[in-house]
């Protein structure tokens, strides 16, 4: 009895501590209860059994009341604190209590590729009446650990995400579903190979067509780190979890424009409210599919009822995804919707046929394609819709006839003729060669140019208005390389914004590229009317959008257009710094998908020029974050269909876009002086405890790490793009 009481006392003390940590020391009389319990715990053997009994009863009752009261007044920032609390359940608890058996893969504990990422082959037993059915699943997730520093709080290193990808592929080979568990404050922001951003992009690219059912469960969903294992067919979220574009502290530091130091507490709480990061908010925004209820103030390590419920929900979610790929299963689907206990009334085989796998991938694409479309201003009205649909239909029809019927027939015929000519030339070679030699001697051999060259544009270089200023500027690298001052009309005119002495690339307006890279008069913009909105009603954001619209004449940070480079037709996307620092939100994502779809339909190369991008627009919260999987799926669709996707970086490119639709490009080049990476210096310093070197994100280092394929000089950009299109595309320039 005495031992039982001691155990109960310890549990109650932990519970009081938990309530104190979540709700604060000034919450009701929590500190009083805590002090009493602590005193009793420390002087347990000096107190009589009656005293302990009475304290246990009164404290338990009061703690119950406080929990209920705390739940009623729970704020978004308190939810963030719940997800980070050491008493919260972790992946290890789920593996122990939800799955019936498991084998950890890729290391255990500290001896691991990355202790922050746990992969395990697990077994789930489904009871149907008196029968037991065994399901095998691959479990991949973040492990926060219980006070284990080496887990880095669940921040996956680049090689941890690579490990996750390896086991995703293994699951695909074995044809077993994957359950993802997201417990991460964000990815560990280091650029070492394979690179934080680039590896997340690779994961998203692979997951978009992984032919197994994928279910994700979010407890702590920190932006890109969460997305690395978050692209799933069904996204579940813990009731007391958070899923956000950035931590409230990070958002507060950005809003307060802090370079270092901690933002004020009030601002952090304000940001937690503004970011709409709770499960309920995310369900409303359409970024998750279902909420898994938790006990008041969140589930902890020993909440076995919660684990039981989670097991049922995971089985049901996997069943649902599998059944969606199967047509005639009405009764099973009905039974699934009514299922609440762990004794199932039906059984679903999770093995998919080849046709079902295709349907699964198609449904996944459709699901993400539709996501967050409500957050974009798309011109509506019957006339406009009919016009757009009509145009699309004609475009698809025209290109199908041109490429599938005519070009395909033409290709087969040409191949036949080539074969005949090649065979006959070999047969006639002994006769024709001496005649050809004599003819060449008399007439002279004509040498055909090996590579076509790009025609020069008439009228020289287009100059920006800044080039008219009569003054000089100093190169930022003047102290290092001794560059003399440069006269502005020369710099922004003839020198294309490049220091002629050291090659430093000055910032240029995006108009310069539009006028100097593409053939004059060939640019035709489309989807200009699609506009950014303020989906979260973030304080002050609508005004900023209005200002930017007025200043730039743009509706979003993304320009989509068709153009020609040296006569080669291309579809282009451009992220411009002028509009919200080139950040990506729902409108930019939608425009990107539409542009790459046009490139697919019209069989054109897709050129993505990044003038600058600051990442995902934090004011759009998870509506912005889901653009990462959405756009990467569009990239995968285009590349698989045979498209040539080329990305060119300039100035600064960071975070979400690089970790998704930019980083997943097979060919990526950067202009000199580009800075490319996952997180900025402040975040790296805060997370790793070390300030990064000043050239940490330079293009040279990105090339050294293998993140990009080359560095280009702006003065040769037009020629470089032209040659890249010819070389990468070759004779199949328009379509593989």
């Amino acid at each position: 009895m005495r031992i039982e009481n001691h155990k109960r006392l310890k549990e109650l003390l932990e519970r009081a501590e938990y309530i104190r940590d979540i709700k604060g020391e000034d919450f009701e009389d929590v500190m009083e209860v805590y002090a009493q319990l602590k005193y009793a715990f420390e002087n347990f053997y000096d107190l009589s059994e009656e005293e302990i009994d009475s304290l246990l009863k009164s404290s338990e009752k009061r703690l119950e009341e406080l929990t209920i009261l705390g739940e009623k007044t729970l704020t978004p920032y308190e939810i963030v604190k719940i997800t980070r609390h050491p008493q919260r359940f972790t992946l290890q608890d789920i593996l122990e209590n939800v799955y019936d058996s498991y084998v950890e893969l890729g290391g255990e504990g500290e001896i691991n590729i990355d202790p922050a990422v746990v992969c395990a082959k697990a077994m789930l037993i489904r009871r149907v009446g008196d029968d037991f059915h065994v399901h095998q699943v691959m479990v991949i997730g973040h492990e926060k650990g219980s006070g284990e520093e080496f887990r880095r709080g669940g921040s996956a290193a680049p090689w941890g995400n690579e490990k996750a990808l390896r086991y995703m592929r293994m699951a695909e080979t074995e044809g077993i579903p994957i359950h993802f568990f997201i417990f991460t404050p964000g990815a560990y922001p280091i650029e070492d190979y394979p690179g934080a951003a680039q590896q997340i992009a690779r994961n998203l690219y692979a997951m978009s067509k992984l032919q197994v059912p994928m279910i994700s469960f979010i407890s702590e969903g920190g932006s890109g780190g969460a997305e690395a294992i978050g692209l799933a067919d069904l996204r579940l979220m813990a009731e007391k979890g958070y899923y956000s574009v950035i931590s409230p502290e990070g958002a507060a530091a950005i809003v307060a424009k802090l370079r270092d130091g901690r933002p004020p507490r009030e601002l952090v709480e304000k940001m937690a409210n503004a970011l709409k990061l709770t499960a309920r908010d995310n369900l409303e925004l359409g970024t998750i599919d279902r909420i898994i209820p938790e006990p008041p103030l969140g589930a902890r390590k020993r909440d076995y009822e919660f684990f039981k419920r989670l097991k049922i929900e995971l089985i049901k979610a996997t069943d649902e995804v599998v059944l969606r790929t199967r047509g005639f299963k009405t009764f099973t689907k009905h039974a699934l919707s009514k299922q609440t206990t762990d004794n199932f009334s039906y059984y679903v085989d999770w093995d998919l046929s080849e046709d079902e796998k295709e349907i699964l991938v198609e449904l996944r694409y459709e699901k993400y394609r539709k996501m967050t479309q409500w957050a974009v201003v798309i011109p509506k009205g019957l006339t406009h819709t009919l016009k757009e649909k009509g145009e699309n239909f004609l475009r698809v029809l025209g290109n199908e006839i041109k490429y599938r019927v005519l070009k395909s027939g033409q290709k087969t015929f040409k191949r036949l003729i080539d074969d005949i000519l090649s065979e006959s030339s070999l047969l006639l070679k002994p006769v024709s060669d001496p005649v050809k030699t004599v003819y060449n001697l008399i007439v002279g051999k004509k040498v055909k140019p090996r590579l076509p060259t790009i025609p020069e544009e008439e009228g020289g270089v287009y100059e920006l208005p800044v080039a008219l200023e009569d003054r000089t500027v100093t190169c930022p690298q003047a102290e290092k390389y001794g560059c003399p001052d440069i006269w502005v009309p020369d710099l922004y005119g003839e020198f294309c914004g490049v220091c002629p002495y050291c090659g430093y690339h000055f910032f240029l307006e995006y108009q310069w590229y539009l006028n100097n890279v593409f053939d004059r008069g060939s640019i035709k913009f489309f989807d200009e009317e699609i506009a950014s909105t303020n989906p979260l009603n973030f304080d002050g954001h609508a005004e900023k959008l209005k200002e930017d619209r007025k200043r730039t004449g743009l509706n979003s940070a993304f320009l989509s257009f068709t153009a020609k480079v040296g006569g080669i037709s291309v579809v282009c996307g451009m992220l411009v710094a002028d509009f919200r620092q080139g950040t990506v939100g729902a409108a930019e994502g939608e425009k990107f998908i539409r542009a790459i779809q046009l490139a697919k339909i019209t069989r054109r190369p897709f050129l993505m020029f990044v003038h600058s991008t600051g990442g995902i627009r934090i004011q759009e919260g998870t509506v912005g974050v889901v653009q990462m999987p959405r756009c990467t799926m569009a990239v995968r669709d285009y590349v698989d269909a045979g498209g040539l996707y080329l990305v060119i970086y300039d100035n600064n490119s960071y975070a979400g876009p690089v970790a998704s639709f930019l980083g997943s490009a097979p060919y990526q080049f950067a202009l000199k002086s580009t800075r490319l990476g996952f997180a900025g210096p402040r975040v790296i310093h805060e997370t790793t405890g070390q300030p990064p070197p000043p050239d940490y994100h330079s293009a040279e280092n990105a090339l050294r790490r293998g993140h990009i394929q080359g560095i280009w000089d702006r003065r040769e950009l037009r020629k470089r793009i032209f040659h890249a299109l010819l070389t990468m595309g070759g004779k199949n320039l328009y379509y593989r």
Partner: protein, 219 residues
């Protein structure tokens, strides 16, 4: 080669009398001095940070062709001889605008004394360097300031693009390896010090001098 202790005495006396180094700050080119950012007697700092990424204190603004340029301090010290009369006036290139009086630290004094006293081998070209394995073993066994080498012995291997070249000690006599300035296989720029040798018989005296500097000089 023997250590010239008289020379060291003279150097120390000079440093004691004037324990500063004066760094004149000149205009890099012609222009107008628009504004002074410091006053006579102000303390300034040079670039700081792990990679010297944080620039030094702004000293003055020099403008040419409507291009105002902030001239910053490259060393830490006190501003003196500030030419305030030049404010708003045109100046030629390489005109001294102010001086920074940099107080020499204990380590700087020791380094100056050692460089003047010891026999230092410098990198003749930009390359990677390693110690000859025999010398490396000797250092491992006895430690720095104990391991001995003889004149004419091979001491370093210069390696660059698979080409290897042995570097000998040109002087006669016995030496103690006092200091190694490079890390094995690290690219060393031409002219950088590689290794400092001290004649065996002079080591006790030299160590006494260093100990005295450490005692006398504020750290």
């Amino acid at each position: 080669m023997k250590v010239d202790f008289k020379e060291i005495d003279r150097l120390l006396q000079k440093l004691r009398a004037n324990p500063y180094k004066i760094f004149p700050v000149e205009t890099p080119h012609t222009g107008y001095i628009k504004e002074f950012k410091v006053k006579e007697g102000d303390s300034v700092t040079g670039p700081t940070g792990k990679w010297l990424e944080k620039p030094g204190t702004p000293l003055f603004i020099l403008e040419r062709e409507r291009n105002p340029k902030i001239i910053r301090a490259h060393t830490t010290g006190i501003v003196q001889n500030l030419r305030e009369d030049l404010k708003g006036r045109f100046v030629q290139a390489f005109e001294t605008i102010l001086e920074i009086r940099h107080p020499l630290s204990q380590e700087e004094v020791i380094s100056e004394v050692l460089l003047s006293a010891l026999h230092v081998i410098y990198a003749e070209e930009t390359a990677r360097f390693i110690l000859v394995p025999e010398i490396s073993h000797r250092i491992e066994k006895h430690g720095l300031k104990r391991a001995e080498v003889r004149g004419g012995e091979d001491i370093l291997i210069m390696t660059f693009m698979k080409r290897e070249h042995f570097i000998k000690i040109k002087e006669e006599g016995r030496f103690i390896i006092y200091q190694v300035y490079f890390k094995p296989f690290e690219l060393v720029p031409k002219g950088s010090p590689l290794i400092a040798l001290c004649p065996s018989e002079d080591l006790p005296v030299l160590e006494r001098i260093v100990a005295r500097i450490r005692e006398e000089w504020p750290s």
